[in-house]
């Protein structure tokens, strides 16, 4: 077992022991970090590994959240099926949106992902009879067997660990290596006989489905959903998490999500001006730590593994 895997195993055990603190605060924060961490890592499959700056990731998060919640609430579907359906809907959404987006490059690509996510937002916002529109969807309950914060924490931990394991396998597979090749030079990748668009589209779908899983968890965790979840600043926030942690490291975005949520928890107990502090941190980061926090540590050789 390599050193890094050992470290991960210890981390997972520590996370599993977290509820022993019996602190509502830490269990709540822990669940939040796990969910947003998965969301950020799923985005990074596009951002850091494939080199696609998606500005509409909130769409898949929201699609997953609403699919799961609506199936449970309106169709009374059992939670496991609703949860799986959320992942499938995320992948389908990504297939449709990605089909058009991958044809564009640079700023046009980012703009189109933004435009699509705004369409999804506008539909959720305006379809009052289904989604509750601006007043949101409330009263989404934990399924009976997960009906405590601790149980839901363990469920989230299990889902996130399995998801990250799969995503890690994906980026370490030949498929993942091709994605990195595409990031480095799409033209040359095309020359060696690889269907770049197809690979990008598959990356889109994988990313979308895991974003949808994290969204489904988020909806149940909060017992409620609002269209704001899909509005574009949400997409910007998850981008910032990835950048904060470091997008050229597999766990970078996860670390970024953890740091950001922890700081938000700390800061908002003192002041309501969290965006001011976040904006300042982001600006400092851009000027002084362009590789993100994990990237910075990697340079100082604490972590040696870079996204290949």
């Amino acid at each position: 077992m390599s050193k890094q895997n050992l470290a991960l195993l210890i981390l997972i055990i520590l996370l599993a022991l977290l509820p022993l603190t019996e602190s509502r605060f830490y269990i709540f924060l822990g669940t939040d970090i796990l969910i947003m961490g998965l969301f950020a890592v799923s985005l990074n499959l596009l951002l850091g590994y494939t080199g696609l700056v998606s500005f509409g990731q909130a769409a898949y998060f929201g699609i997953g959240a609403y699919t799961c919640a609506l199936l449970m609430k309106k169709a009374s579907l059992a939670f496991p099926f609703a949860f799986l359906a959320a992942g499938i809907s995320g992948a389908l959404g990504a297939l449709i949106i990605g089909f058009f987006c991958i044809r564009l490059t640079q700023i046009y690509f980012s703009m189109l992902t933004l435009a699509f996510s705004q369409i999804v937002w506008a539909i959720v916002f305006k379809w009052n009879s289904l989604t509750g529109g601006d007043t949101g969807l409330i009263g989404i309950n934990f399924p009976a067997y997960l009906d405590s914060n601790t149980r839901f924490y363990y469920f989230t931990l299990a889902v996130v660990v399995i998801s990250l394991f799969i995503l890690r396998k994906v980026v370490d597979s030949p498929f993942g290596r091709i994605l990195t090749t595409i990031r480095e030079n799409p033209e040359r990748t095309e020359f060696i006989g690889i269907n770049v668009k197809l690979f990008q589209l598959i990356a889109f779908m994988i990313s979308g489905s895991f974003a949808a899983f994290s969204g489904a968890l988020f909806g149940i965790f909060n017992h409620s959903l609002f269209p704001d979840l899909l509005y574009w600043p949400q997409s910007a926030e998850v981008l910032i998490m990835s950048l904060l942690g470091g997008m050229y490291n597999f766990f970078g975005p996860f670390v970024g999500a953890a740091i950001m949520l922890y700081m938000r928890m700390l800061v908002t107990s003192y002041t309501q001006y969290w965006p001011l502090i976040m904006g300042t941190i982001l600006a400092l980061l851009l000027f002084f730590f362009p590789g993100g926090i994990v990237g910075f540590l990697a340079k100082s050789r604490i972590f040696t593994r870079r996204a290949k």
Partner: protein, 295 residues
């Protein structure tokens, strides 16, 4: 079939909104055309411009013509703030990937948004329309505010003025040349760094002016920054980023779509706007009147 005069008024309201969109979007488009930076903080400049106008109006309240002084001072302050930000911060990020510049301007959105809340609070502010333009004119039996007519003519005036500057003056030639090939312009002895700062300041001034002029007819509230920037993005995407006529066309289209869309299909208007943006991006990513981006 609704009354034609009512439709005309609706069209004029759309035109008023279009002129605001045009003012702000042309600044964004100008900055993008030259600096290749998509400035998320452009909406924040607009919002701060509106807040500053409120403050200057209260400050100059005893001076005759205080509204016009406030507009002047507020928009010029925004130009200075913009120039300062470009000179000392943004210019250091040009060597990096685009994403870094984009995220820096997003950091500005967060910072300026909270500064505005700290200084002006979270309540809704408003200022009266200037005394000269308080009235309304009658058009085919319907009343339409004089102030809106002023905004429409000013917007068109600025469009013509900008076109003349860009196409008929030495400065305009330099700016157009820099949009095509900044290195070449630099090697011909133009100080490109200062050119960038000035262009950014002018672009910011347009956003500030938009904010200053909207102050008498809209509620000045936190959140108006995020709301306008997305509409401005739609305008430049439809018309073409970096294209002058495209920006005007995009603003006119969006203004009318919003004005009539809300009338005909209030539910779907907002969805339709984004669908329009998406369709244009799919068919002509560089916009209806723009040119493909060259690197």
């Amino acid at each position: 079939m609704p009354d034609p005069s009512f439709l005309l008024i609706q069209c004029l309201s759309g035109l008023t909104y279009a002129m605001f969109l045009f003012l702000i979007a042309s600044g964004l488009s100008l900055i993008f055309g030259i600096l290749r930076v998509l400035n998320f903080a452009h909406g924040s400049f607009y919002m701060v411009g509106a807040y500053l106008t409120y403050s200057f109006v209260s400050y100059f309240i005893d001076v005759p013509g205080h509204f016009w002084l406030a507009v002047l001072f507020a928009s010029l302050s925004i130009a200075l703030i913009g120039g300062f930000i470009e000179r000392f911060f943004l210019s250091r990020l040009y060597i990096r990937e685009e994403l870094n510049q984009l995220l820096f301007t997003y950091a500005l959105v967060m910072i300026l948004g909270d500064f505005a809340k700290i200084i002006w609070g979270t309540g809704q502010l408003s200022i009266p329309r200037p005394a000269v333009l308080k009235g309304a004119v009658q058009i085919f039996g319907q009343y339409f505010p004089e102030y809106n007519i002023f905004v429409i003519s000013l917007g068109l005036g600025i469009a013509v003025l900008f076109w003349l500057i860009l196409n008929r003056t030495r400065w305009g030639r330099i700016i157009r040349a820099a949009a095509l090939d900044r290195e070449m312009v630099g090697s011909l002895g133009i100080n490109v760094n200062w050119l960038f700062t000035i262009v950014f300041a002018i672009g910011s001034w347009l956003a500030g002016l938009g904010g200053a002029l909207v102050a008498p007819i809209a509620a000045i509230v936190p959140g108006m920054d995020v709301e306008i920037i997305i509409n401005v993005f739609i305008v430049v995407v439809i018309g073409g980023l970096g294209s002058f006529w495209g920006t005007l066309l995009g603003a006119l289209v969006l203004g009318q779509v919003i004005s009539f869309g809300i009338l005909i299909l209030p539910r779907l208007a907002i969805v339709f706007i984004y669908i329009l943006m998406t369709v244009v991006l799919i068919i002509r990513p560089w916009g209806l009147l723009g040119k493909p981006l060259r690197r």
